[in-house]
């Protein structure tokens, strides 16, 4: 009985997968559009400029960090310290801009550079000692968080100059500036992965690191640079959030780790690497954004929201596993 049902699920599942495999992006995009329409019916407040602005602004943060993580997942790598990097870099920018009185734009650059270094340091350790990325980055997460506490002593840094907080808070033609940053990041990362040789190498390493070495790709370099890019995007997210809040809080970033992995996976990037695209990561992030928005609008209890979010992620991972088995058959 149980077996019967399971095989039926597998059958319809595989038919669905067959279609989505051929039209991978179309599938997820279709789901997003469907979700969007359903949401319009569920709540009259969904399709309002105010709500869309809120949604897009929060999507911007998750989206940027998810694109960074998506790049690593394409390689078959992962960085669980992105949240800690985001928080620490926000604090670093705040420290320079507020406490040291450095030019705010230069402070931002310093924060971004710190993010690149932290990401590359992760990548360097992983490739140099051939470590498990998950374990290493969990360790580094604690270290970066600790460093954050050392700098802030747990206190929030306030008093960011107006000249830069506008980047986090403002809007251009009603579009929140973080969303514009996300769009720019997306375009650049799309070009990087799709149009450059570096992008080809990323896919090659993700497909088979052994083959990549055989065709003369310096796999370590590709991985370390990608960790650096992911660190940069994590820092960018953290700094943007600090600018939006006009203060650097040590807790910024913690909540982004899981969505940063879930979004690319929902969007069709295989956790084992080599399959999927940055576009998928963005669409996956959008799906998560719409879902959490409609949950709030639908008046679901705050605690249940977490339960639902968790299940969505679990579903996405099961789907990923199914599609991987399907591909290997």
């Amino acid at each position: 009985m149980y077996k019967n049902i399971l095989s039926k699920i597998k059958l319809t599942g595989s038919a669905l997968l067959n279609w989505t495999r051929k039209n991978q992006l179309a599938g997820v995009f279709g789901a997003l559009v469907l979700l969007f329409f359903v949401s319009c019916f569920i709540s009259p407040n969904f399709l309002t400029v105010y709500n869309l602005q809120i949604m897009v602004r929060s999507l911007a943060f998750v989206g940027i960090i998810a694109i960074g993580q998506g790049l690593l997942l394409l390689l078959g790598d992962i960085d669980l310290s992105v949240g800690a990097i985001a928080g620490l870099c926000g604090v670093i920018t705040g420290k320079f801009a507020v406490t040291f009185g450095v030019n705010p734009f230069i402070s931002i650059l310093i924060g971004l550079a710190a993010g690149v270094l932290m990401g590359m340091f992760n990548g360097l350790l992983i490739t140099m000692f051939d470590l498990n990325a998950i374990v290493l980055t969990i360790g580094m997460q604690t270290a970066y968080k600790g460093l954050n506490q050392v700098i802030t002593k747990g206190r929030t840094i306030t008093g960011f100059p107006k000249s830069i907080t506008i980047i986090g808070e403002g809007s251009i033609f009603q579009v929140p500036t973080p969303a514009i940053v996300l769009l720019i990041v997306f375009i650049l990362m799309y070009l990087l992965t799709r149009k450059t040789f570096f992008g080809r190498n990323v896919y090659a390493v993700g497909n088979s690191i052994e083959t990549a070495k055989m065709v003369g790709i310096k796999a370590h370099h590709v991985r370390i640079i990608s960790y650096g890019i992911c660190g940069f995007l994590a820092a960018l997210t953290g700094i943007l959030m600090s600018l939006r809040l006009a203060s650097a809080q040590s807790s910024i970033g913690e909540i982004w780790v899981l969505p940063s992995i879930a979004a690319p996976v929902i969007g069709g990037i295989a956790t084992t690497g080599g399959i999927g695209s940055i576009t998928g990561a963005l669409i996956g992030g959008s799906i998560m954004g719409v879902v959490s928005n409609i949950i709030v609008l639908g008046g679901v209890n705050l605690y249940w929201q977490q339960v639902l979010n968790g299940f969505i992620v679990v579903l996405a991972i099961i789907f990923d596993s199914f599609s991987r088995k399907f591909r290997t058959n």
Partner: protein
């Protein structure tokens, strides 16, 4: 009466018939040897006997009763020592012997470590092993590990038949003799032993009966007392190969492209050879003789221990695959699926990945050139693919191989190493690959190194043949000296 009998066993894998209508009959209390070249079907036959694989056709009889593979597997009447080491590396010797632990002591639910270690000593002593039951498996010498697998098989006391698949590959002479004396004892106890080996002197020193397989067919069965080595070698090689249809490059030049001197590395030592412009040098040997390791070291994929090489008379830089490719040496791997293709990328991307300078400018891929190169490879090497945008996993093995050859040629190499280029490829495409290799050598002047486990392939394509045995060069044959019989002897370690 036969204790175990197999009739009409047939097993097909995609593209190959591994076994075709093979019979095998084992008499109780005898040692039965199975011999054949690589790929003759020995291991497949054994896996079917042990129940690890299911035959497509054929029947098994145990003590005269018909039985299926599942029964064989669960009844534990067959003990099996596999060819590859498959121990639990971080468990102790005793744990490895008794896993699953139901046999380790009196109770089948709780187990007593002390009792298990005590019990293990019995088997260790029987095999004259020096290791302690508490030693961790990965820390004991390879030869002891191989014997440990035998001990594990022996612990299945109920067995009637024990199958040993090339158990002596990493044993020294004394260890081998020790193993043989145990096999003799087992035979006297009435157990039946199936012994698979490439080494014919071993077969003659211990066996009672021999079965010879070739290309999945049963080609000879005999009492070992009434035949000699020559009979077996003749059966293994079969009919003389038709050399009128050969693919040897004509008129290779004398210009030396690659010169390797006293190269040593993992699994091989002191290898020297030359490759000249426009010739195919064949490397013959058993699986594990170290041929691939030599080439991968040269290519920079593995690390060298010692030795030098010269490429176009310049000292060769080891240890860097990308500089090897840039300097004109390409290695086409035997592990096409895991080390050759990028499975989820399409044909065009698979071709472009090695050609950075050809298809990109300042890091940006030039789509037009990318497509042009892909189309050129597809048409030049007549790759059968729906379009350049088809995922490469959807192509047949032969067409994947042609894509990889095309990719290699686009980076204008001077020397190409083909490691088992026709593994898993159907007969017609094989001929196409031979023709391609010949053309590359004749028209482009490429020096080709061909590693193959198929003797026929080597004989038909190579200008010269070098044989390797256990990590060393065993013999070298110039074109006029090449004979099938001699090379086979050289591969299996018979001194000439």
């Amino acid at each position: 009466m036969a204790i175990l009998e197999a009739r009409g066993i047939t097993k097909k894998f995609p593209g190959v018939v591994a076994l075709n209508d093979v019979d095998l009959s084992l008499k109780q209390g005898t040692i039965h040897c199975i011999v054949g070249e690589n790929g003759a079907g020995k291991s497949t036959l054994v896996k079917i006997l042990t129940g690890l694989q299911q035959a497509d056709a054929g029947t098994l009889f145990i003590d005269g009763h018909e039985g299926n593979a599942h029964y064989l597997h669960s009844s534990e009447c067959i003990a099996y020592v596999p060819q590859e080491l498959n121990l639990f590396p971080f468990m102790t010797v005793a744990e490895n012997i008794f896993i699953p632990f139901s046999r380790s002591g009196k109770s089948s639910i709780f187990f007593d470590e002390k009792e298990m270690e005590e019990n293990a000593k019995k088997y260790l002593k029987r095999l004259n092993m020096t290791v302690d039951p508490c030693d961790i498996a990965q820390n004991i010498p390879i030869s002891e590990q191989q014997l440990l697998q035998v001990a594990r098989a022996l612990s299945r006391e109920k067995f009637k038949v024990i199958i040993l698949d090339e158990p002596t590959t990493s044993l020294t002479k004394t260890e081998t003799e020790r193993l043989f004396s145990i096999l003799n004892v087992l035979r006297e106890e009435g157990k039946t032993i199936v012994f698979i080996s490439h080494k014919l002197d071993e077969v003659f020193s211990i066996g009672d009966y021999v079965t010879v397989l070739r290309n999945g067919e049963l080609v000879g069965e005999s009492d070992l007392k009434s035949v000699d080595q020559n009979w077996i070698i003749q059966k293994m090689t079969g009919k003389e190969i038709d050399f009128t249809k050969n693919y040897k490059p004509q008129n290779p030049s004398n210009e030396v492209l690659l010169k390797v001197e006293n190269l040593s590395g993992h699994m091989f030592e002191d290898i020297s050879f030359e490759v000249r412009r426009g010739e195919i040098v064949g490397f013959a040997g058993l699986v594990g003789a170290g041929r691939s390791e030599v080439m991968q070291t040269l290519f920079g994929y593995l690390r060298k221990k010692q030795g030098e090489a010269y490429f176009n008379n310049n000292p060769w830089k080891f240890g860097n695959t990308s500089s090897s490719i840039a300097n004109g040496l390409i290695y086409l791997t035997e592990e096409r699926k895991t080390h050759g293709i990028l499975p989820f990328l399409n044909v065009r991307e698979n071709i472009g990945i090695q050609l950075k300078h050809k298809i990109s400018k300042r890091g940006v891929v030039l789509q037009k050139r990318d497509r042009a190169v892909a189309n050129r490879v597809i048409s030049t090497y007549s790759v059968k693919t729906h379009s350049p945008e088809t995922k490469i996993v959807n192509l047949s093995g032969g067409n994947q191989q042609k894509v990889l050859i095309g990719r290699a040629m686009e980076s204008s190499p001077k020397v190409i190493i083909f490691d088992e280029p026709t593994k898993g490829i159907d007969v017609n495409t094989k001929e196409e690959i031979y023709r391609l290799m010949k053309e590359l050598a004749e028209k482009e002047g490429v020096g080709i190194i061909l590693i193959s486990s198929e003797l026929e392939e080597l004989l038909r394509c190579s200008n010269r043949i070098i044989t390797m045995y256990e990590g060393k060069v065993n013999a070298r044959y110039e074109e006029h000296q090449i004979s099938q019989n001699q090379i086979l002897r050289s591969i299996i370690g018979v001194s000439n």
